[in-house]
């Protein structure tokens, strides 16, 4: 019986952490997406032929010419690593530290035993 409850507690904990992680990455992800939108070039469809088209489609001409370096990569930001360390620490702590409050231990007056799933 006790082992069943322990598994249930573990399952609840894993589900909770999954929800937290989902919420976390939902907030963080748009910050990266905005970077790309603000800094990147406008998209050109290489298959469109325009008035000044040569033998090479306009979009294709750009391919290989410009290798745009990554500007301000997120992994060079201090807050990214601070957040990553914080998340990793929180996950480890949440896994190791029991959430359930524990009943106090028993003295010698309880000679028949000291049991229960609250311990």
């Amino acid at each position: 019986m006790l082992s069943v409850m322990t598994r249930a507690t573990l399952l609840t904990r894993v589900i909770s952490l999954s929800v937290i992680a989902t919420l976390f990455f939902t907030v963080v992800q748009p910050a990266w997406a905005e970077d790309e939108e603000e800094g990147g070039p406008a998209f050109k469809d290489p298959t469109i032929v325009t008035d000044d088209s040569s033998s090479v489609p306009a979009g294709v001409k750009d391919i290989g010419k410009e290798k745009k370096p990554i500007v301000n990569p997120v992994y060079e930001e201090w807050w990214f690593w601070a957040t990553a360390i914080g998340v990793a620490g929180a996950v480890i702590a949440a896994t190791v530290i029991p959430f359930q409050k524990k009943a106090p231990g028993c003295g010698s007056q309880y000679g028949l035993g000291c049991i229960g799933d609250g311990r």
Binding site: M1, M5, S16, V19, I20, L23, F24, V27, V28, P30, A31, E34, D35, E38, V74, E77, W79, F80, A82, T83, G86, V87, A90, A93, A94, I97, F99, Q100, K101, K102, A103, P104, C106, Q109, Y110, G111, L112, G113, C114, I115, G116, D117, G118, R119
Partner: protein, 170 residues
């Protein structure tokens, strides 16, 4: 400005994470604490070999299955202090602490005292076999003595919240 926006979002995400973890920690399940006092009111206690306790909830579902009481012996020549054993069981059998993650409903504590037939019966009484969908044993499995006590769990916040339960087997 963009860095400030990113920093703000990172801070918000970290805050959400911390708040969620604190929330989970604060919402951890409570527990109830029972002090079960077991006594025996009638003879023949000299034939008692072992005592087992089971606990059921208000839906008659087993919460604890056949817990055997510990035995506490006194000095040589002194009576047994707590527990059940042939020829040594006193009328005050002893106390047990039980903590439950349940803080509502009703728990029923049942104590069965068995003589030598307990081993043959697997310490399962016939009424318990029937409740589990099995046939009664032959010859019958009937405890020498049996007793029940019920209590309603409540959240334990301090020594005054320990719930006393009395079970008298007879």
């Amino acid at each position: 400005m963009r860095s400030f926006t990113q920093f703000s979002k990172g801070l918000l995400a970290t805050g959400m994470l911390a708040a969620s973890l604190v929330g989970i920690g604060g919402c951890g399940p409570d527990y109830a604490l029972f002090k079960v006092n077991v006594t025996s009111s009638t003879s023949p206690r000299t034939q008692i070999e072992e005592c087992f306790m089971s606990i059921k909830d208000e839906k008659d579902k087993l919460v604890l299955d056949r817990y055997e009481f510990h035995k506490v012996y006194g000095a040589a020549g002194e009576p047994m202090i707590q527990g059940c054993e042939g020829g040594l069981t006193t009328d005050r059998i002893g106390s047990l602490s039980y903590s439950s993650s349940r803080t509502s409903g009703t728990l029923t504590f049942r104590v069965n005292a068995w003589d030598n037939n307990g081993t043959r019966c697997g310490h399962i009484a016939d009424d318990e076999r029937v409740a589990q969908g099995d046939q009664p044993a032959s010859p019958p499995c009937v405890p020498l003595q049996t007793g029940n006590g019920s209590a309603t769990p409540k959240t334990y916040n301090g020594p005054n919240d320990e719930i006393p339960v009395s079970v008298t087997i007879k």
